[in-house]
Amino acid sequence: MSRETERSRRAAPSAPAGTNEDAERSDRAGGDAAGITRLVGSVPDPEMPMVDLADLGILRDVSVDGAGAVTVTITPTYSGCPAMDTIRDDIRARLAEHGHTDVTVRTVLTPPWSTDWITAEGRRKLAEHGIAPPPQRAQRPNATFVPLSVRCPHCGATDTREVSRFGATACKALYVCAACKEPFDRVKPL
């Protein structure tokens, strides 16, 4: 297990999970890992179904052994994320539909998930569905972080206010827009 974690850690800074790098590595490990990675990556998040596990960056690794046993490694957004059980079930169900029945879903905490792992595509989908995406932190080390106003995903105004730092799910905060008066959720930076 520690070797798995070490691999994930090395991959962390540049590659959100479920990317080509993971797929290629698993390919070498055996079988159709790239295809399975795409299958697992396309499982929708149970709480925010407009994004999938690949968009969210919570899929860390997929490997297939010689006998066809699949090991999927995922990471929670928050320690107590109550969707993890459902996500595990959804992954098994999706793979079973495609004939993979020997499936182990592992959970790892290292490296810790942050909202930087949400892909550009994931951010676009969130905004499209009325959820303000988290800010993208600078890619360069030691860059100055300038907090910007949260843009209303309904009308685009930046005159918005945080109502509560804790929203309908562990990963969201509750905002309201002063321009269009609509409340909205925001994925809070972590």
Binding site: M1, S79, T107, P112, G167
Partner: protein, 270 residues
């Protein structure tokens, strides 16, 4: 809570580390339970949601820690205790949480006082444990510290709002801090367990966290217009406290409620 796929790396066979991780797990579990009691009883809907979110974060931390404590203990004893065994099948005097986290939600100010004092400590603690030589503990800490940053901020905002609010809210916040202050020293007490894990580089001696905690708490209290309480520390029965399994009277009721379902219906799932 049964969870077949743990979040645990190969555990270290070390008696002090098992005792230490169990303390951290119990602190998080009991703090989580006290907040869960308030779901649907908070002063406003947003607070129901906030307290439930914080409770859930702490429960997630507790599950990872108790699972790890159980597996590390198995290396020493050959007997595995799962997170459920540890949470639901131990008696009151086998819990080693600090007494601060078990103190009851007398009113909302008490809930906020407990959260302020505890999360300011836990934030400092996990900030050091991210560098633990123990890989699992470092992993749990890296997640926990970000969550505790939000928890601490939530409690500080409310402390200022209540302290700097009406005469009534100020008096209640002051009373809550005064009631909980005698339990603060226990949180930062060193003993053989903490000294051993600190020397091994796996844990942190809590006494080393006190200066940063004092600075933070003094800042919040100043902003809230509240005085630092001067109530003396409560050492516990014959010098024994929560870390030795000696708890306050209300703790038995907490345990009874928390464990009731599991003990009445062993193995129940839904």
């Amino acid at each position: 809570m049964s969870e077949p796929n743990g979040t645990v790396n190969a555990p270290a066979a070390d008696t002090a580390l098992v005792a230490y991780v169990l303390r951290l797990g119990d602190d998080a579990l009991i703090a989580s339970h006290r907040l869960a009691e308030l779901v649907s009883s908070a002063p406003q809907l947003e607070e129901d949601v906030a307290l439930a979110n914080i409770s859930l974060d702490l429960l997630g931390q507790a599950r990872a820690l108790l699972t790890y404590a159980g597996r590390a203990e198995e290396q020493l004893t050959g007997v595995l205790r799962t997170e459920d065994d540890l949470a639901y099948m131990r008696d009151e005097n086998q819990f080693v949480n600090c007494r601060l986290v078990e103190l009851p939600n007398t009113d909302f100010a008490h809930t906020i006082a407990r959260q302020l004092l505890f999360s300011a400590y836990a934030y400092e603690l996990y900030g050091t444990l991210v560098d633990s030589a123990d890989e699992t503990l470092a992993g749990v800490a890296a997640k926990a510290v970000k969550e505790l940053d939000y928890h601490r901020d939530h409690a500080a905002l409310w402390t200022v709002r209540l302290g700097d609010g009406t005469d009534e809210s100020n008096a209640r916040m002051a009373a809550a801090l005064k009631a909980f202050w005698p339990y603060v020293d226990e949180v930062f007490a060193s003993d053989d367990v903490t000294r051993t894990v600190a020397a091994a580089g796996t844990g942190t001696d809590p006494a080393s966290l006190r200066p940063a905690w004092d600075t933070y708490i003094d800042g919040v209290l100043a902003e809230a217009g509240l005085d630092r309480p001067d109530t003396p520390p409560l050492t516990g029965l014959a010098g024994l406290g929560g870390r030795q399994g000696v708890h306050t009277e209300t703790f038995g009721y907490l345990i009874a409620e928390m464990q009731h379902l599991h003990r009445s219906h062993p193995g129940a799932t839904w």
